[in-house]
């Protein structure tokens, strides 16, 4: 239960730590790219497995709703709290209490270093979307501590 939940969290922390150790020597960017890449392949595989039983998606919005609800619940045990879109290919997913950030203290000084814990989730979203037929660019930002926003920019095919 609670113990098995934290296994993923701790493993994720170690992965981030390790990748930054090995690839982040020359530049922070290398590590971010590596983590994003890992997330991408994981996301692809997860999407393949999770959507085996679901009905066919109608449009991009339908896919986004799926990501916010089922996909996020499977990954982080909660749904995305807020989904906004400009109907021109930009979607903003807001999680008020993102699970991977809840262990970090909520003071100003940690906002910048905590950003590295968001590269893998970004990759996960991008991978899942890519496999569902939507090429995109995903970015993340932290405003106040356990809250974060993922901005998805769909690349027109």
């Amino acid at each position: 239960m609670a113990d098995t939940d934290s296994v993923f969290e701790f493993l994720h922390m170690q992965i981030v730590e390790y990748i930054h150790d090995v690839h982040g020597k020359e530049s922070e960017n290398n590590a971010t790219t590596k983590l994003e890449e890992m997330g991408f392949t994981i996301g692809q595989r997860l999407a393949e497995r999770f959507t085996k039983e679901t009905a066919r998606f109608k449009d991009d919005l339908d896919v986004m709703k799926y990501i916010c609800k089922e996909f996020w619940t499977a990954l982080y045990k909660k749904q995305i709290d807020n989904l906004r879109t400009n109907h021109q290919g930009v979607f903003v997913l807001q999680d008020n209490r993102f699970r991977l950030l809840t262990q970090i203290s909520d003071t100003e000084e940690f906002i910048v270093p905590a950003a590295k814990y968001l590269s893998l989730p970004c990759g996960l979203i991008r991978g899942a979307l890519a496999n569902l037929g939507i090429p995109s660019i995903v970015g993340a930002e932290i405003t106040t501590m356990p809250m974060c926003k993922f901005t998805i920019n769909i690349q027109k095919h």
């Binding site: 393949e48 497995r49 109608k58």
Partner: protein, 138 residues
């Protein structure tokens, strides 16, 4: 009994094709290639009419003199095409559906193999075994 099973990628290039008799492989490449237009048409018409049950199984794509061609598209836009002999009348729609579901499970398992990268040709022996079973049963 299927005479040909094919898996086609998102971008419409073949990932896997297996036929009963290897000499006929080229002919079935043509058959499967032709069926892709029908698949495209069916998928786009299904998504537009919103009250349809949006199933992954597309049913009979088109019959030819000797064969019937069935299709299935996953949510990740991977197409499965199965060709059955027309003479084979006792094969019900439901059985074809089951066949596709088995194929889908086998594909997902294969895809989750860490040594497989998306878009590569399928060489998994376990996947081949599932396909061979589809071709020889009943």
């Amino acid at each position: 009994m299927a005479v040909c099973v094919a898996v086609i990628a998102k971008e419409n290039h073949p990932l896997f094709l297996r036929t009963m008799s290897p000499e006929e492989e080229l002919k079935f490449h043509y058959t499967v290639h032709t069926s892709l237009d029908v698949v495209e048409e069916k998928v786009s018409s299904l998504t537009k009419s919103s009250n349809d049950p949006r199933e992954l199984y597309l049913g009979l794509l088109y019959p030819t003199e000797d064969y019937k061609v069935y299709g299935y598209v996953t949510n990740t836009k991977i197409k499965f095409v199965v060709v059955v002999e027309s003479a084979n009348n006792f094969l019900r729609d439901n059985e074809i559906r089951m066949m596709f579901q088995r194929l889908h499970v086998a594909y997902t398992d294969m895809f989750c193999n860490p040594f497989y990268n998306a878009g590569e040709n399928i060489t998994s022996r376990r996947f081949e075994k599932v396909v061979e079973n589809m071709m020889k049963q009943d």
